[in-house]
Amino acid sequence: MAQSLAKEFTKGLWAEIPPFRLVLGLCPVLAVTKSVENGIGMGVATTFVLVFSNLLISLLRNIIPSKVRIACFIVIIATFVTIVELLMQAYTYELFLKLGIFIPLIVVNCIVLGRAEAFASKNSPALSIADGLGIGIGFTLSLASLGAVREFLGNGTITVWGGNPIFEMGANFLPFKFMIEAPGAFVGLGLMLCMMNLIGKK
């Protein structure tokens, strides 16, 4: 049991890491990764939704009739997304302002629905939590690393939390401004996908 738990957890960190291996959920990946902070915030919010929706769907998997399962999944996911949105407004309002519309859009993030349909509806609650946690952390790491590349090249800083950069290039550093614009998201993601494939090939 412990072994399969660990297996479900770690697959989300490398073998099935969402944006790079499954290439799912690209909308938030491209849109919010202007800084590490935004990436982490989005990743944590998605992880919260993933873990709780996986848990609930797994608990209810024998009760939900298969014909209306997608509708039920969406109700559960939308509920947790709205809870996250309210909590972020109440406790981390500045981050909420930066992520804005992309928080409610977690509802239609195909990673969340994908895990519900492909995993949680067929497996036990403990395994589903491990799966949600693994995929969620993998998603957070991906967003943070893409955010780090874009923020470093585009702005010359690395900001992990709270708006104060922990690392700053000197005034002589001329940033590639386009990296924090929309085209930079595609270039950054493309390069990272390419690197992941290079490493994975061996």
Partner: protein, 193 residues
């Protein structure tokens, strides 16, 4: 038949439980969210509208209640000593209600300035109403009896190109502010003494 009933029952129970849960979370976080909106949305807007206020509009805020509205008023004293107020109204825009903080000079009945507060407009399109001040600055200095509708609706406000619905939401909020102001001005003046 059995299957149909079970589908209906499961969906109905699920939606009502989640509705109840959301209502509970909403009411539990309401006060905190209101404080956060005050701190991160209304306070900067008021600071922008009255940059040279000689008092603290946030600390001196008061509420006016009539039969149909409850309005939070932020009083301010301008640099030349004249009194002004700011309050927030909402207009329906593309992504839901858009909040507009309207600052009005009480002695001249002119708009000092307006700022967009809370909104859910499309980033880069409707959100320009908040980020790009050239749209909201059209309001500053206008008399309160001006028609705040868009030019296409017979008013004086130029819409932002590509964001007509957002522009309309802002102008609806301004028109609403005008109506409230004309109705409540005596009451507001009385409370400020």
């Amino acid at each position: 038949m059995r299957e149909m009933i079970s589908m209906i029952v499961v969906l109905a129970v699920l939606t009502s439980v989640s509705g109840g849960l959301l209502a509970a979370v909403k009411s539990g976080t309401e006060v905190r969210i209101e404080n956060q909106v005050l701190k991160f949305q209304k306070a900067p807007a008021i600071q922008d509208i009255f940059p040279e206020a000689t008092n603290d509009p946030l600390a001196e805020r008061f509420t006016i209640t009539t039969e149909d509205i409850e309005l939070q008023i932020f009083p301010s004293i301008l640099a030349d000593g004249s009194k002004a107020i700011a309050f927030e109204t909402k207009g329906g825009a593309y992504g839901g209600p858009i909040g507009l903080m309207v600052g009005i000079n009480l002695s001249t009945d002119e708009i000092v300035d307006v700022r967009v507060t809370t909104h859910a407009e499309t980033p880069g399109i409707g959100s320009r109403a908040k980020e790009d001040l050239s749209f909201v600055s059209q309001f500053s200095g206008l008399k309160m009896e001006t028609n705040f509708a868009l030019k296409s609706g017979g008013g004086v406000i130029d819409a932002m190109s590509g964001a007509t619905v957002t522009s309309k939401g802002v102008s609806v909020a301004a028109v609403q502010a005008k109506e409230i102001y004309q109705k409540l001005k005596p009451e507001i003046v009385k409370q400020m003494k």
